[in-house]
Amino acid sequence: MKKVSLIIAAGLISFASFSQKVYQTKSAQIKFQPITEEGGCTNNQVQSLLKSSDGQIAFSALIKGFKFSNSLLEDHFNENYMESTKFPNAKFQGFITNIKEVDFAKNGTYKVTVKGTLTIHGTPKEVTTTGTIEIAGGKVIAKANFKVKVADYGIKGLYIGQKIAAEQDITVTSIYE
């Protein structure tokens, strides 16, 4: 009797600690291409946290961390459009709404829906997007692709709507441990 209850108790403890694991990464990647003719920009040092128990997910990206091949474009991006001295970070805080469908213990690819607040240029906005979570040998890989309307976040300037698309295509790849 004792042994059984001990085993059950041990199993419950491991279940409890497993279900509240916080996955983290300091090298998630966000990329997009503001101007179609020129090369795009990439930030390879995005921070992200994911809590497997309730699907809480957060991202934080330093605007100065978006690197361009052309240094003048990078200067303009920071100074004229994003005003990165005023708004140094872009953040996302939300939930994976169908987290129960993801089995973190089993390898596989799961389609997910993410809903939350995206704050760019100091302006928060509710967004929803679909993405995938892939479980592969202990690693959790989250991917998403969504569009952002530049004007929604108070970003103004020359060329928006012309050389710079009014709606930007953002790709997020996050490999958690």
Binding site: M1, K2, S5, I8, A9, L12, I13, F15, A16, S17, S19, Q20, V22, K31, I35, E38, G39, G40, C41, T42, N43, N44, Q45, Q47, L49, L50, K51, S53, D54, Q56, I57, A58, F59, S60, L62, K64, G65, F66, K67, F68, S69, N70, S71, L72, L73, E74, D75, H76, N78, E79, N80, T85, P88, N89, K91, Q93, G157, L158, Y159, K163
Partner: protein, 305 residues
């Protein structure tokens, strides 16, 4: 009794498991993480000036690694020519073509050729200190510029009795600047120009010291006002100090610098030490055109300043 103890232990473990789930708030974790990261990282100041030259002289800026800057510098004839001469646009004008390259984010090299005295020039520019806030606090940026210049115009060489390396000059400058805020930047540039041969008999040195003072003021998102003055501590007979005033207009990949200046030349040797016409008489319209190309099409790996 034992069973009750076991049952209560069992219940504690179960409730323990469920209670723990809701105490980790990762949004708070992220916000605190951001604050820690901001305090422990160094933010290097960017865009103190909008180009690697303020007007005539160098700014503290270098161009990014793997970037190439093609430059055309143009100076027209003096405005005093009046409407007859289209206020100097009819010429004769002087021009310099230049090509600058960012070896690293701190080291830049460049070459150029001016039509004035058919002069070739080459330079090396290195950011010694970078203005930053955060973990490392540095109030100024200091950049060294080393230039070599060679005038090759036959008429000029003959008139000055020069041959071989006589027409070669060197310039050493330290650009010391600070971006005070988004609107105002200021720089001083102590400069030494060495002439291999000086043909002015009233001077008994080959070394000329000067101090450049440069500023830029942001007028709008894409327009900046710039001003530059070089004061010569010792100078050749008949020369005056150079004053330049202008506006920088930025577009996608270009910076257009339109200005008024009393200097004809566009290298240290000529615009600092060989300007002969004073501001009033000698003021002329000129422009600098720069186009930045990214040669290294990297995927934007983490750049190290």
């Amino acid at each position: 009794m034992k069973r009750i103890l076991l049952a209560s232990a069992f219940m504690t473990f179960v409730s323990f498991g469920f209670a723990q789930k809701d105490t980790t708030d990762i949004f708070k974790m992220m916000d605190e993480g951001d604050k820690k990261a901001a305090a422990s990282s160094t933010d290097y100041t960017t865009a103190t000036f909008k180009s690697t030259r303020v007007i005539q002289g160098p700014s503290i800026e270098t161009i990014g690694e793997g970037n190439m800057d093609f430059r055309i510098l143009h100076r027209f004839a003096p405005l005093k020519g009046g409407s007859e001469e289209m206020f100097g646009l009819d010429g004769p004008a002087t021009i310099r073509f230049g090509l600058d390259y960012g070896v690293t984010n701190r080291l830049m090299v460049g070459i150029g050729r001016s039509s004035y005295q058919k002069e070739f020039d080459g330079f090396v520019k290195y950011k010694l200190l970078r203005q930053s806030t955060g973990k490392i606090n540095m109030p100024i940026t200091v950049t060294y510029i080393g230039t070599i210049m060679d005038a090759t115009d036959d008429a000029y060489l003959k008139a000055n009795n020069m041959s071989g390396t006589d027409a070669i000059s060197y310039a050493h400058a330290f650009a010391i600047g600070r971006k005070f805020n988004d609107v105002f930047s200021f720089q001083i540039t102590p400069t030494l120009v060495h002439f291999n041969k000086v043909t002015d008999s009233t001077v008994n040195t080959n070394n000329f010291f000067s101090l450049g003072m440069q500023t830029r003021v942001r007028i709008s998102k894409r327009v900046n006002f710039t001003a530059e003055y070089y004061y010569q501590f010792n100078k050749m007979n008949g020369t005056v100090n150079t004053l330049s005033l202008g506006f920088d207009f930025e577009t996608g990949g270009h910076v257009f610098q339109l200005h008024f200046t009393n200097a004809v030349g566009m290298t240290e040797r000529t615009f600092i030490n060989q300007t002969t016409e004073k501001w009033g008489d000698g003021t002329r319209f000129g422009f600098n055109l720069t186009r930045i190309f990214a040669l290294k099409k990297g995927k934007g790996e983490a750049k190290k300043w």
